[in-house]
Amino acid sequence: MTETIVELKNITKRFPGIVANDDVTLDIRKGEIFALLGENGAGKSTLMSILFGMYEPDEGQIFVRGEKVRLTSSKDAAALSIGMVHQHFKLVSNYTITENIVLGDEPLKRLGPLSWVDLKGASEKIRSLSLEYGLEVNPDDKIEDLPVSTQQRVEILKMLYRDAEILIFDEPTSVLTPQEIEYLLEIMEELRRGGKTIILISHKLEEIKQVADRCAILLHGKLVGVYDVATTTTQRMANLMVGKELDFSIDKTEHDFGEVVLDVSDLTVYNEQKVKVVDNVSLKVRQGEILAIAGVSGNGQVDIADAIAGLQNISAGSISFKGEDISRLTIKERITKGISYIPEDRQKEGLIMDLTLRDNLAIKTFDREPFSKKGILQPESFEQQAEDLIRRYDIRSGQGGQTLTRSMSGGNQQKAIIAREVELDSDLLIFVQPTRGLDVGAIANIHQQILEQRDLGKAILLVSLELDEVMALADTISVAFRGQILKTDSVHNLSKEEVGQYMMGVTQ
């Protein structure tokens, strides 16, 4: 059972201004679940992209099943039966599941000189694969119509379709709800029983504890060590990951709340498909209060936040901010009035990926002093602000303010958004899933910042799928279910179990 299947020897990979992997040596055994841990930007995705042939290492060697290999494209990886589910899915949105799965490795039918892609045959094969592994999908569905959890199944099926033996999962659980995570972990164990080798990147230590056999920890591109999961506590993993003792305790002082900042009443929102996603919702947030909307993903909580920020039109009700109705104002006007927004999808709504970090940090304030004077931009001010925020919020990037946002690791992109929004010094801050995809250190840091803002007397609306996060931070909890708020109460009057019950739609 200790047969080594993959060996990485002295792998080094540099990007402009940064060493993403620094002399990393690892071996992975056949049939194990091997976890890869590390802070945001530690180089996990890079290392696995190297094993998958997407990048070539600057130095070092790779051995697969004892043989030295050179991987120049994912085709080479596929030939060695290595498959990968990327952190950001790589699917063609207007293709069916079948078309996506066969892409690059199409089964052909021939008749004389003509050959065509045998989609029907492939569809059958996919259907039976999906039944075999409990990954239920309808092969003829189009990707763009599918929820992320199904898209992820498609990525997994893509690997299985190619008979991959070594399966790499890059943060597969960061986009899933707790129930879906549970299910995915079961599937991984099932795959392991089937003899597959799994490499799992995750920030969620409990998951790793639950399924993984061994875990490697990376810190600033270097390997800290490889540990047996069974004998290592999650606290120790976390400490090794950040290279120091971590303090997870959240100290929240009780205080009285001030005036009502946000007052939403009878809000109703229809989405683009004309489906009612927010149904007659009322809520109030006061100065110094954290109101958390808990709920299973897709119960309208994000739509509430979007409506308040102005990203979605409302069809009934009112949104008043410091006593003034803002429901007809433009997004820009709402920002100027003092609303900060940390959106759920950082790449689509939070940042412009092809701008530099510096410009993204100023994107909401570039037209004010000191960033522009009489309509002329002042680059020095941009630069100054960038330097300042990078330092204070510990945003890690290869080339400081000049780094292209797209090249930053997911976690650091998130830190950049939070830095920008908090700096606006708004009276109301809306956080949607602020810690998704972040490492434990960064999460603790962001929680600290949210509490700091609370103590400064800001009103905070937090939307989170993580029940633990809600319980730890909230002063008041509202539970969203099917577009409605089922229950609103102080955190002191609610237990975690009760909130969980309401999330499932149970009302006593």
Partner: protein, 320 residues
């Protein structure tokens, strides 16, 4: 009104437009913004025409098969210019729209210059208006007698047949083969293509070159319709082809109908000018009709259209 003539001309306008639009579809579905259809068309037609001039002078006669040689030359000429375009946008990563405009300007300049130089050298008389022989035309018995649409089957250029066959083939390749599946993925999410182990830039390169070939075929068909080639004679058609494919939602089947729409509206307006015996001022006004229609149609329909998601984005492996 001469319905037969509207039908006949409508078809001969539409089909070249259609095949050029298919070229655009190939390029854009692979992710490369394509504005240089017109340049490919012109340069291809020029290559075809000049080949005819050279062969005609050398042989001292002008046999019927010359038209097929011209067609082949035109396709190759279009591909040659497309090769340049592909190098610019894929290898050198220049902005796709700018490269497109540059190629169009280059095509006009190059064809007028080369026409004079080559005709001067070959025939001793420099001109940039190249006379071509008259193309044979075919009328299909019985079908051509059907009322109203009979005109569709009268006086058909040989190009019509070639274009229909090529278009069917192009449809088959784009929607049924693995090459087509990969090509279309390139315009939606090139990263997924890359992750599937396919060389995105190779696919895009080939798509652009093919676009040149299709445009060249359309170009020679137009040229034979007008019986002569001059660098100013094709101006505007390439853009009309682009309008047709946008209106056709980047889909070959719908683009067939939009090309027909543009072609027939043109033959209709021509015929109208003829019937009414209007002065040339008015006739110019009427010739503008297809373009005005284009504008109106695009304003109303482009809202529902969905361009390929990754259209116009250079593919860069390091990008994520």
């Amino acid at each position: 009104m001469n319905i037969d003539k509207i039908m006949t001309d409508g078809l001969s306008f539409s089909l070249p437009l259609f095949i050029m639009a298919i070229g655009g579809i190939y390029s854009e579905r692979s992710g490369v913004t394509m504005l240089s259809i017109e340049g490919f068309q012109g340069f291809g037609a020029f290559t075809g025409a000049i080949t005819v001039v050279i062969l005609r002078t050398a042989m001292g006669s002008s046999p019927n098969w010359l038209i097929y040689v011209a067609t082949l030359a035109s396709v190759l000429g279009g591909m040659l210019l497309a090769l340049l375009n592909a190098l610019m946008v894929i290898k050198l990563k220049s902005k796709m729209t700018i490269a497109g405009v540059v190629v169009n300007i280059l095509a006009v300049a190059l064809t007028s210059f080369l026409s004079s130089v080559i005709t001067g050298a070959v025939t001793g008389q420099a001109t940039n208006k190249i006379q071509l022989g008259v193309s044979p035309r075919y009328t299909i018995p019985y079908l051509s007698e059907i009322p109203v649409i009979g005109g569709l089957f009268q006086n058909i250029y040989p190009f019509a047949f070639i274009i229909i066959v090529v278009a069917l083939l192009a449809w088959y390749v784009l929607y049924k083969t693995s090459y087509g599946l990969r090509l279309r993925a390139g315009g939606d999410n090139p990263h997924s293509l890359d992750a599937a182990g396919v060389d995105v830039n190779k696919i895009r390169f080939s798509a652009v070159v093919l676009a040149g070939g299709f445009a060249g075929l359309g170009g020679i068909a137009f040229t034979y319709m007008m019986a002569n080639f001059s660098p100013s004679s094709y101006v505007g058609y390439g853009y009309l082809a682009i309008a047709a494919l946008i209106f056709g939602n980047w889909n070959i089947r719908t683009t067939f109908w939009t090309s027909m729409f543009f072609g027939f509206s043109r033959s209709f307006s021509d015929q109208l000018v003829n019937e009414l015996g209007m002065s040339s001022n008015y006739s110019d006004l009427f010739s503008v009709m297809p373009y005005v229609l284009t504008l109106i149609v695009l304003i109303f329909f482009s809202k529902h259209n969905r361009p390929p998601r990754a259209l116009g984005e250079h593919f860069d492996k390091g990008k994520r």
